[in-house]
């Protein structure tokens, strides 16, 4: 049994629903903010995710970051070294989707060359009648960037756990991989003849 810890950077344009999504996830659906308040800095939320079919878990430290450019630069300083990234846009705004590559680059710049598992989230799936970003288009871009794609509706409590479970699983898989590499590396054959 192991409890891993991951620093999850949550980014995307202002008002796409990053805070709604993370609060929905962390409160198990009991907390949807009906009134919009803009996040001005970074809000830290912590939640532990169990990894299915194991006794392991990943504690996610979610850095919910202001999407508004005026605040973004200050927020970056609080990220530290990211473990995983969650980039959010809203399916009813093409602009917010187009910003995703810029957000992703911004987080990657803090990684010092370390691998960064990530997800792309199309939020506000309840606004399907006003959809500006087709699922296939978002999926294709996510694939190119090595991200998993999920659509969610924080408002309708739809699928909000999925992106975070995906991140926890990717981080856990990376741990297992590194664990095996180190195990192999430290095994000295001359001691086992």
């Amino acid at each position: 049994m192991v409890k891993l810890r991951a620093r999850c950077i949550l980014v995307g344009d202002a008002a796409v629903g990053k805070s709604a999504l993370s609060q929905m996830f962390c409160s198990d659906g009991s907390h949807f903010q009906k009134n919009y308040t803009m996040t001005a800095g970074v809000e830290l939320l912590v939640k532990s995710m169990s990894i299915p079919e194991t006794n392991d878990s990943v504690e996610l430290y979610i850095f919910d970051t202001a999407g508004r450019e005026t605040f973004a630069e200050t927020c970056e300083k609080m990220w530290g070294q990211p473990s995983v990234v969650c980039v959010v846009f809203e399916i009813s705004s093409l602009d917010s989707f187009n910003s995703c590559s810029r957000w992703l680059e911004r987080v990657r710049a803090h990684c010092n060359g370390l691998q960064l598992p990530g997800v792309l989230v199309g939020n506000k799936s309840d606004l399907a009648s006003r959809r500006e970003v087709e699922t296939a288009v978002a999926q294709e871009w996510a694939r190119e960037q090595g991200l998993q794609y999920h659509e969610t509706s924080a408002k309708e409590m739809e699928n909000c756990d999925a992106p975070f479970l995906s991140l926890a699983q990717a981080f856990h898989a990376m741990y297992q991989d590194r664990r095996q590499i180190i195990q192999r590396l430290s095994w000295d054959p001359t001691d086992h003849q």
């Binding site: 049994m1 192991v2 409890k3 891993l4 810890r5 991951a6 620093r7 990943v58 430290y61 530290g80 070294q81 473990s83 010092n112 370390l114 691998q115 981080f171 990376m174 741990y175 590194r178 664990r179 180190i182 590396l185 430290s186 095994w187 000295d188 001691d191």
Partner: protein, 134 residues
């Protein structure tokens, strides 16, 4: 002395910031390079080794993997408190082998050593063996 298992003369790991039950921190001081402690995500990571007596230490040796920046602090107190920085070092990255580093100190006294792993070349780092020369 550098090759002696620290636990053979009563040293113990008092504390470590993360632990996988399969890779407990005691593995760093059992003298066996094949067993190790593995960090479980996010820097800094930290562990504290307690000695049975006040020790005069001239060299600390560390076998590890993917540690980038390490700071070592000492305490001469009976409790693990009042730590002072002894050394800070950036390790070279290795591939296919462990990192082996020796850090010289000018015969400092210590009852406790605190190791702060400030950064890594990967998300997870391992420590296989810590040795000291008195």
């Amino acid at each position: 002395m550098l090759n002696t298992a620290l636990n053979s003369f009563g040293a113990q790991v008092l504390f470590a910031t993360s632990s996988d039950e399969n890779y407990p921190p005691e593995r760093m001081i059992d003298g066996n390079m094949e067993t190790f402690w593995l960090s479980t995500g996010i820097f800094p990571q930290e562990f504290i080794i307690r000695f049975p007596d006040n020790m005069k230490i001239s060299v600390i040796s560390i076998h590890s993997f993917n540690i980038k920046r390490l700071r070592i602090e000492q305490s001469t107190n009976e409790e693990a408190e009042d730590f002072k920085v002894m050394a800070e070092k950036e390790f070279e990255q290795t591939e296919g082998s462990l990192q082996t580093n020796e850090i010289s100190l000018d015969c400092s006294n210590a009852t406790h050593l605190r190791f702060l792993i400030l950064s890594g070349y990967d998300h997870f780092v391992s420590v296989h063996k810590v040795g000291i020369q008195a």
